[in-house]
């Protein structure tokens, strides 16, 4: 499945708006200066996604927060961190020193909140710009390897649209990297593309 450069530009802009909102919220919660950036969005298939994550060294234990949604578009959004990056992120917000060995349910709970803020802002941005209302599940935290994480999500299949973006967090002097993944169910992909096209026809962000 492929998208035109204009469609990808719209999606990129939706993500940029979402990360801006997420950064403001994280800033407000932590009282720390938080900067979020998503330099590039890629359209991948499931095999390419798994390979991309393996190439990033994601064969080991991962921490993942998932937010499922339904409505005009149906699917899942995920933010995935290596345990090392997850520990760094939790430390950035809580100042509680931790390491991979110490990453426990309490730290995972903090990561759930941070991941949820990012996902809410990103998916919320999609819903706003596409002018639709979505229904959301309660955010889920999953810990495991990449196969376990992908197979635990009923919305993920070989078919459908997968958007992938590396996400850079800068919390004061600390740099953390996570991976944002948006799966859109095959059935609702035409609606998603239609909504993006409609947005473009209206003049996109310059309207």
């Amino acid at each position: 499945m492929s998208l035109t450069p204009e469609q990808i530009d719209v999606i990129q802009e939706m993500i940029n708006i979402g990360v801006g909102q997420a950064a403001n919220l994280l800033n407000s919660i932590s009282g720390k200066h938080v900067k979020l950036s998503v330099p590039e969005v890629k359209v991948l298939n499931l095999e390419m996604l798994a390979q991309t994550l393996i190439d990033l060294g994601f064969e080991k234990n991962l921490s993942c927060v998932t937010l499922m949604f339904s409505g005009l578009i149906k699917g899942s959004s995920k933010i995935i961190f290596s345990t090392e990056q997850a520990s760094k992120l939790v430390f950035a917000f809580t100042s509680v020193e931790t390491n991979e060995l110490d990453f426990d349910e309490i730290q995972a709970e903090t990561l759930s909140e941070v991941g949820n803020i990012v996902l809410n802002s990103l998916v919320g941005s999609f819903a706003n710009i596409l002018n639709t209302t979505l229904n959301y599940s309660i955010p889920v935290y999953v810990n495991g390897n990449i196969d376990q994480i992908l197979s635990s999500d009923i919305n993920i299949s070989e078919k459908g649209l997968i958007l992938y973006a590396r996400t850079h967090f800068q919390i004061e002097n600390l740099q953390v990297e996570g991976d944002f993944i948006l799966f859109i169910d095959l059935e609702t992909v035409p609606m998603f593309i239609q909504a993006v096209n409609k947005f473009l026809e209206k003049g996109g962000f310059f309207n």
């Binding site: 919220l25 407000s28 919660i29 932590s30 937010l67 949604f69 939790v90 917000f93 809580t94 509680v96 110490d102 426990d104 349910e105 309490i106 730290q107 709970e109 903090t110 759930s112 909140e113 949820n116 803020i117 996902l119 809410n120 998916v123 919320g124 209302t133 979505l134 959301y136 599940s137 309660i138 955010p139």
Partner: protein, 393 residues
């Protein structure tokens, strides 16, 4: 309001806290579990604004996400580490209860209204259990570390014991063979002379005495090394570094051993700068020099040559005792300097040895913070090197 509250009564039967608020933040339901955790009764909060009952929530970090949920946005999570007191709650010992809070949207189909359901889970005991597990894990790791340390100490102690045992074996081997046999020969010759003194001519007596004289010199050198080594093993060798001219010491020792070399028609030369000031214990370095030069004499054939040189390399004086004698194989070189391997070789004039001299040299050089090594080729000769720290200028 009462009818609406009844719809949520099901939440009184669950072990989590549940609070429902309307679009204008009015509390419409407060379940039994929250009553227990917060000590606030349902009638005291129903109909009141959330931020009126909990002023701590009157902050954009709560108002903005909760408003978003009420307006149909995704659920939000307030974790225990980032929000110590969403709904303040205390344990009997007045420690704060750790409450994990999730706010999600609920649309009332019949009334066409939306609400926010605030569900609260108690993570306090989970947190305690995690802390306890971590404590137990840390203790186990500490114990493992201690066991590893103890095992390493045991291995080190075993190694020391092996070395001590090898030292003892070496000591007894020297006493049993290298001292007993020549002294036994001394005894026999002296006994023969004593019993038959008048039967021998002066010339014959001189013939008896000559090998005894040579043998006694070798025995003396052996005893000297044995005593040095025994003292070093019992920690009784005192290394007292002083500043001295190493070249001068080399020249003195060459001069002392020249006669021994000339007896085998071996020449000793030196290749030395005017002076090299070193900081070391002069007695032990003298022993090293004497042993290395004596060894060179021992393993060089008649007509051979020995060169003793010294130069400065990387803050050390490097001494080399080179001979063009019989040399040695790689296997033999590996056995030198080792107490746990028995190795002796006869000299070119069948001079006997114990292998003790080089072990003493190694101990003394290292005690002076230097290094000792050998380069050799069978049939071509050997080069023994050692280093001594330079004096600070």
């Amino acid at each position: 309001m009462e009818k609406l509250t009844q719809q949520f009564n099901l939440f009184n039967a669950v072990p989590i806290g549940v609070c429902v608020i309307s679009t204008n933040f009015d509390i419409v339901f407060w379940n039994k579990q929250l009553e227990i955790w917060t000590n606030i009764k349902s009638p005291d909060v129903i109909g009141k604004k959330l931020i009126e009952v909990f002023p701590n929530l009157n902050h954009p970090k709560y108002i903005v996400p909760i408003s978003s949920v009420i307006n149909g946005g995704p659920p939000v999570v307030f974790s225990t580490q980032l929000h110590k007191s969403f709904f303040p709650s205390y344990l009997p010992d007045m420690q704060p209860r750790l409450l994990h809070t999730t706010v999600s949207n609920w649309k009332c189909a019949s009334k066409h209204e939306t609400y926010a359901i605030i569900s609260v889970e108690d993570y306090t005991y989970l947190s305690y259990r995690i802390k306890e597990h971590k404590r137990m894990r840390d203790e186990a790791l500490k114990e493992l570390e201690m066991r590893k340390k103890a095992e390493a100490e045991l291995r080190e102690s075993e190694q020391k014991l092996r070395e001590l045992n090898a030292t003892k074996d070496k000591f007894f081997s020297i006493i049993a063979h290298d001292l007993k046999n020549p002294i036994g020969a001394f005894k026999n010759v002296l006994e023969l002379l004593y019993q038959n003194f008048n039967d021998f001519s002066k010339e014959e007596i001189l013939e008896f005495i000559e090998p005894l004289r040579e043998s006694s010199a070798q025995l003396f050198a052996l005893l000297e090394n044995l005593l040095f080594w025994a003292r070093s093993q019992t920690g009784r060798i005192q290394i007292e570094p002083i500043e001295f001219d190493l070249c001068d010491l080399i020249r003195q020792n060459i001069s002392l051993l020249k006669l021994q070399a000339e007896n085998k028609q071996i020449t000793i030369e030196s290749d030395l700068p005017e002076r090299i000031l070193v900081n070391a214990d002069i007695n032990t370095i003298t022993t090293v020099l004497r042993n290395l030069i004596s060894n060179a004499i021992k393993f060089t054939r008649s007509g051979g040559k020995i060169v003793v040189s010294a130069k400065v390399v990387d803050g050390y004086a490097e001494v080399c005792v080179e001979d063009n004698g019989i040399g040695m194989s790689k296997e033999t070189m590996e056995k030198l300097f080792r107490i746990d391997v028995h190795h002796t070789s006869l000299g070119t004039a069948n001079e006997k040895g114990t292998g003790l001299g080089l072990i003493v040299c190694k101990e003394f050089v290292e005690a002076n913070k230097g290094k000792i090594w050998v380069e050799s080729e069978e049939g071509k000769g050997s080069k023994f090197y050692f280093t001594v720290p330079l004096a600070e200028i």
